[in-house]
């Protein structure tokens, strides 16, 4: 009896995966939990484990193909010990996609049980509660198409929430609109090719970046401000320490850990800046997890330094170094990307002196640290040569106003300016 294996859910926001390599060829014996294939999703590369033992029957999806979560990728012939009840085996397998969290799995089970049970009594199918009506209207859900798991086939609020979570209606009509909205950026402005032009197909990472940037710019009212800090002390301090640091710790002492530390300490003072947008509320985050932008040749990643407020300059330096290494090796995991509460972007490393960063949703703000440039300035009524840096902040104006953001930025500046060649780190 062949069982369909589907594309598992490999992260909260992941909707599809590209099969990069088949590990098991048709005819190969398979033990439970053995990897079947490698999959590249939006940001993570993962292996899909077997949910059962048996023999690989055939590949439904070929290498390089992109498959939506929940769609069949291959079929496995079950170990021939249990050959009876063929139909129920198929149904059961459909109801439990393999890598879902246990809770989701349970709900799925409940759903299927509920619908089959409801065949008898559907008297409550069209009795809609206020909550269900409101959610359906807000999310354009056609209640006729939703199966109810409540008593008498009633559609519960949870049924609607499940439909919303799984990306809206599953009717063909709605699927097509969902697709066009996702692909809009590429399709809308695709100009004709001329001789010699080269087409680069979008990688899944590129697609995600495109989608997230469009979404953030589209949904979040960005406001922007910039302050200039005199970091002459910090420059001298780093100059003094960097050789010893390299020798002792084996990594370069960059300005990044100082920037991150100044931001983290200031976030402690202004919890409103360490917040996320929650739709109908603002959620102040207790943990301070700093997303740092790490660029590679063809993509941008924002891995997270967890609990950055518990780390010293050295600790942050090491964390940044490790994340950058992992990024370069392509070894970042879902865990490395999750739970960021604020983003620090080191645009100065490209030589930029001002930038307007796009907010890393759903965070409240993002700061970019620009190039440190020597400039003549007036100090104590004399012309002096000082090391200046611009700090640029984009803020979600739904969450923050200029006042708090300005005060926050002023404290970051003060902290960076407080370093002297004698400071201890």
């Amino acid at each position: 009896m062949a069982t369909d294996i589907t594309m598992p859910q490999l992260g909260e926001s992941v909707t599809e995966g590209t099969i990069t390599k088949w590990i098991k060829a048709p005819g190969d014996p398979i033990a439970k939990y053995e990897p079947l294939c490698e999959v590249a999703t939006d940001k993570v590369n993962a292996e899909v484990p077997a949910t059962m033992s048996g023999i690989m029957k055939d590949h439904i999806a070929s290498e390089g193909e992109t498959v939506a979560v929940g769609e069949t990728i291959c079929r496995i012939d079950e170990a021939s010990t249990e050959g009876n009840e063929p139909t129920s085996a198929v149904q059961e397998n459909k109801a439990t996609p393999e890598v879902k969290t246990s809770k989701e799995g349970k709900e799925e089970n409940k759903t299927s049980a509920g619908t089959s049970e409801a065949d008898g009594d559907r008297s409550m199918k069209r009795r809609y509660s206020p909550a269900v009506l409101q959610l359906a209207e807000e999310n354009n859900i056609d209640l006729e198409q939703v199966d109810g798991t409540g008593r008498g086939g009633r559609i519960t609020r949870k049924d609607i929430q499940r439909v919303i979570q799984s990306g809206g209606m599953t009717s063909p009509k709605d699927l097509s609109t969902a697709e066009t909205s996702v692909q809009a950026p590429s399709q809308a402005q695709a100009p004709g090719l001329e001789l010699g032009d080269k087409e680069i197909p979008l990688s899944s990472v590129r697609k995600t970046i495109a989608q997230r940037m469009v979404q953030s710019k589209h949904e979040v009212p960005h406001a922007w401000m910039m302050v200039q800090a005199d970091v002459s002390g910090l420059v001298k301090l780093r100059q003094k320490l960097k050789d010893d640091f390299k020798q002792q710790e084996g990594i370069n002492l960059t300005y990044m850990p100082f920037f991150v530390k100044a931001v983290v300490d200031s976030l402690k003072e202004f919890p409103k800046v360490n917040a996320v947008w929650g739709g109908d509320k603002i959620i102040l985050k207790r943990r301070i997890n700093i997303s740092v932008a790490v660029a590679t040749e063809d993509a941008l990643y924002v891995p997270v330094i967890k609990d950055a407020d518990e780390k010293s300059i050295l600790g942050i330096a090491k964390a940044v170094h490790n994340l950058a290494e992992k990024t370069r090796m392509g070894k970042l995991t879902m865990e490395d990307f999750s739970d960021g509460t604020f983003t620090v972007n080191n645009t100065g490393s490209f030589g930029s002196i001002a930038s307007q960063p796009i907010i890393n949703q759903p965070q409240a703000a993002i700061i970019s640290m620009e190039s440190i440039v020597k400039q003549p300035v007036i100090k104590d009524d004399m012309i002096a040569i000082r090391d200046l840096v611009n700090l640029c902040l984009s803020l979600d104006h739904r969450i923050l106003d200029g006042l708090v953001a300005g005060r926050f930025l002023a404290r970051v500046k003060e902290r960076l300016e407080a370093y002297t060649p004698e400071s201890a780190i």
Binding site: P130, A131, V132, L133, Q134, G150, R151, R154, K158
Partner: protein
């Protein structure tokens, strides 16, 4: 943190407040030499003497009246009704004097007074030692009504009640006295009056309760988790003033609300909570609001099987939650 019982939390709060402020004194039947019939004032007579731990005659109207008079004069009395059932003779004093003092004197006089009373059944107390009385006072503006469920809340709320400038009815469920234990810090702290607390997070059904039945709800929630039903439990802690925001928040969480109390259904406080929800959160509701409460019979029966029938328990709460979850 040391683990202490619900009644020890009462005693500690009284003792610490009497040490902190010499204007605080207790009065009631057998609270002195005997240390209270439930031992709530145990040791206080020895520590603070007969002047501050006063044994009174069996006259609840006088206990309340004396306490009201003393409080108006600037003292901070904590009056004990031996059983909430016996508060009726003091009803006039509490409703017509204490609750109205500030209002009718245009803020000139007020009553910083606490009336403690053990209420509730489940201890074979029969008709006159088992009643719940909160609904008799809940509709009287000018009174605060505190009904904690855990030792932590008891101690913190009793301190707040004693420090409050207006009359507070502090109702202690007597079945909780030695049944419920919990961690209580040794250092001074208070729990603000008028704030409910989420005692458990969940997303299928919201249970709103207070006092002993709150523990039934928690027990039921724990067992139902194994069936895959996730229960959100809100402890009101104070019923007047009512934490309306917390109730609406807890409602939005699941859209299905069960209100549980031991006081009987008709006219019970659950009706007030239910009205509040349907007035303010109608479009969040996914099921009719349900109430689970004591039966509408005159009083707690003496017969043990009938008492068991009368009382709520985790099983009954579980059934009610399950019905809502399946709706």
């Amino acid at each position: 943190m040391p683990v202490i019982s619900y009644i020890d939390a009462v005693t500690q709060a009284l003792q610490e407040e009497m040490q902190r402020d010499e204007k605080v004194f207790v009065l009631g039947e057998d609270v002195g030499v005997r240390g209270g019939v439930f031992r709530a004032t145990d040791g206080l007579y020895k520590e603070f003497g007969a002047e501050r731990v006063i044994d009174t005659p069996l006259t609840e109207s006088a206990i309340a009246g004396v306490a009201i008079g003393a409080s108006v004069y600037g003292m901070r009395p904590v009056a004990e009704m031996q059983f909430a059932d016996f508060i009726m003779p003091a009803y006039n004093q509490i409703v017509s004097e204490a609750a109205k003092m500030r209002y009718r004197s245009n803020n000139t006089w007020y009553c910083p007074l606490v009336i403690r009373a053990p209420y509730g059944g489940g201890v074979h107390g029969a008709l006159y030692h088992s009643q719940s009385v909160e609904k008799l006072f809940a509709g009287v503006p000018g009174l605060k009504i505190v009904m904690p469920s855990t030792p932590y809340d008891v101690k913190g709320l009793l301190k707040s009640a004693i420090r409050d400038e207006d009359p507070v009815l502090f109702l202690e469920h007597k079945r909780c006295y030695r049944l419920i234990k919990g961690e209580v810090p040794t250092e001074d702290y208070t729990v603000p009056i008028g704030e409910a607390e989420v005692k458990r997070e969940g997303d299928d059904v919201t249970v709103i309760s207070y006092g002993l039945t709150l523990h039934f709800a928690l027990k039921a929630a724990e067992e139902l988790e194994k069936e895959g039903i996730s229960v959100h439990v809100l402890d009101l802690r104070t019923i007047i003033p009512l934490d309306k925001e917390a109730i609406l928040e807890a409602t939005v969480k699941t859209g299905k609300v069960l209100i549980v109390h031991e006081d009987n259904l008709t006219g019970g406080f659950g009706g007030e909570v239910s009205a509040l929800i349907s007035e303010n959160a109608f479009f969040e509701l996914d099921a009719p609001i349900r109430r689970l409460a004591g039966p509408d019979v005159p009083a707690m029966p003496y017969s043990p099987p009938l008492e068991k029938e009368f009382m709520l328990n985790p099983e009954k709460v579980k059934t009610a939650i399950r019905e809502l979850a399946e709706f």
